[in-house]
Amino acid sequence: MSGNILEITGLTTRVSGYTILDDLYFSVEENELRVLLGPNGAGKTTLIDMISGRYKPTSGKILFENRDITGMAPHRIFKRGICRKFQVPNMYETLSVFDNVMISLAGHRLVVQSLFHKHTTADQDRVVEILEFIGLVEKAGFPADALSHGERQWLEMGMLIAADPKLLLLDEPTTGMTEADKQKTAELIQRIAERHTVLLVEHDMHVVRRLGNFVTVLHQGGILAEGLLADVVANEEVRQVYLGQGKFSGA
């Protein structure tokens, strides 16, 4: 196989009669920043759910680094090196910002390890580094629920970086942000992508234009188009289903 870190073949998901993903073939190369586009209900989040192990697919195979991870439990998939961000910021609300990141640091996941683990200065430095990176170092001692929406999104990204995964799945990290915060987030993602493989679901075309190099457009559970952003945007079909060029404009 080529340098594909993620290889999905024939992935199908049906939920009570509805086909969410329909015989999907999809792959991501190592060290790539791939943007996943698609209108509501196209199956973007479902795809992320399948890869990260939240739900099991009806059929099909998901290979990560050429190893089958289809239908594995989330914590096992995490161990292989995949970490996801949720659409709605998802963190440990009452823990401090510092602890949120600390708990996400790579390694030490077993009960026995947690029981006897002592935090080293190196761990602490790493957490401070990450907090610097996401710009929350001054708020390290605050509980996560005292943060603003944008800050919460960044904190969750910081938690992902702390886990140092091989593949990051970012599900609409700019949802509900102001324009300014969106730009900050885009910058963050850009810097994360320098070191990690990133699969990003994004709606906001400004952010996509800034980040997107290679994009995949999902539509009704299948891939509609894939390629360089400029090409995809120019694609007539994509324009029709997604970019708001009215279907009946020619009529």
């Binding site: 914590h75 998802n90 440990y92 609300e93 708990i103 683990h117 401070v128 001054e138 001692g141 605050f142």
Partner: protein
């Protein structure tokens, strides 16, 4: 990212973390323990009885606090484990008491067994006569039951309300079981009339165990595993996707708390001299939940304060204010739930921590924006921190132009 920026981070922000055992808390605990331990020397026996009982109940409430407040598992059947511990010890004491004090009819088996037509102690119970065996059983079997329960429920992602209902049902089943098999358990009347350990020395034993378990709990909840448990409580989905096998953590804390409840039950049986089906049932379980909630379920000291306050008020008010004490208790609960949802200690602790954090934040902002060290830090960062513009660092701007 450079190490310099990490250093800068440390300079700008020093993490305020409470020590594991703050000095004032050590002195506080020592003072309280000293008062309780010497009470029998100058106090009445009646109050001494109550104190020993309250401490046992406090340990029980602490076990509820551990699973509910710290790990988010609401069990309405924690008294199962308390009761199991109590029955092991009561049975053991009763068996050895009966062996030495023949009944009216000359038997050397517990009186209730005789009434129910048994002629000798069932073989399976006989070893319990030795208190050592009973203690080992007390430590082992409740933990085993908790483990089995944990594997069945938590591994299948059953928790929250469902878990509460299942544990409640469990408590009812055990209660029925005890009443039904009265030849072995003493049935509705329970086990009584055995040699009790109701003196100052045993009060010291109870206190020592309480302090030990208190310390262990504090250690547990304020180390890495405590943070993981809290994260599981806050957001188990996130924890799962963060690589933690949530079920294992739940099983661990559930087993630990159950063992603790069993120990409390054992002490209680030896102290009180009577154990009945009520000590395993849902009422005691829910009372325990209330004690933990009033004191502060996500604190280690809270359950002790909650138990002493609620239980103490119960005894005091039922004497002084016989006509209205239940009304007063009800108002107390409403007050706590309404105005202190985190419990007494939880609310106090939270406001202290938040104030400290706000001050630290304000200080760090001041120190960063003025003062000689800030200039040095900025200069150094200006040359070393490549992530931001030189001038941004120098002027302390965020550097992100929006």
């Amino acid at each position: 990212m450079t190490t310099a920026s990490a250093e800068l981070g440390r300079a700008r922000f020093t993490l305020r973390r409470e020590p594991m055992f703050p000095l004032w808390s050590i002195f506080g605990v020592a003072a309280v323990v000293a008062i309780l331990a010497t009470y029998p020397l100058y106090g009445t026996e009646y109050v001494m009885n109550l104190l020993g009982m309250f401490v046992c109940f406090s340990i029980f409430a602490l076990s509820i606090s551990l699973i509910w407040g710290f790990a988010g598992i609401l069990s309405l059947g924690q008294a199962i484990y308390f009761g199991m511990g109590a029955y092991f010890i009561a049975l053991s004491l009763k068996l050895s008491y009966a062996a030495e004090n023949p009944t009216r009819y000359g038997g050397t088996i517990p009186d209730y067994m005789e009434w129910n037509g048994l002629t000798e102690v069932p073989a399976i119970m006989a070893p319990l006569m030795h208190i050592e065996v009973a203690i080992v059983c007390l430590l082992f079997f409740p933990t085993l039951l908790a483990f089995i329960f944990g594997v069945i429920t938590f591994k299948r992602h059953i928790y929250g309300v469902y878990c509460a209902v299942i544990t409640l049902a469990e408590a009812l089943i055990l209660q029925e079981f005890i009443i039904e098999y009265q030849a072995y358990t003493g049935g509705f009347n329970g086990i009584t009339d055995y040699e009790t350990y109701n003196n100052m020395y045993f009060l010291w034993v109870i206190l020592a165990v309480a302090v030990l378990l208190f310390g262990t709990s504090r250690l547990l909840t304020h180390s890495r595993i405590g943070t993981v448990l809290k994260s599981v409580r806050d957001n188990d989905v996130r924890a799962e996707f963060n690589g933690y096998e949530v079920a294992n953590y739940r099983i661990f804390v559930f087993c630990f708390a159950s063992m603790m409840a069993a120990i409390a039950g054992g002490l209680y049986a030896a102290w009180m001299g009577i154990v009945s089906h009520l000590d395993t049932g849902p009422i005691l379980s829910i009372e325990g939940v209330i004690w933990a909630a009033v004191g502060g379920r996500a604190t280690v000291i809270g359950p002790f304060i909650g138990t002493f306050l609620v239980k103490g008020a119960e005894f005091f008010l039922s004497q002084q204010l016989a006509w209205a004490w239940q009304l007063v208790m009800g108002l107390l609960f409403i007050f706590v739930v309404k105005f202190m949802p985190e419990g007494i200690m939880g609310t106090i602790g939270k406001s202290i921590a938040m104030g400290r954090q706000r001050r630290a934040y304000a200080e760090s902002q001041d120190a960063y924006q003025s003062g000689p060290m800030a200039v040095v830090a900025r200069l150094r960062a200006a040359f070393t921190d490549g992530n931001r513009g030189f001038m941004d660092n120098l002027l302390g701007r965020s550097g992100r132009r929006d």
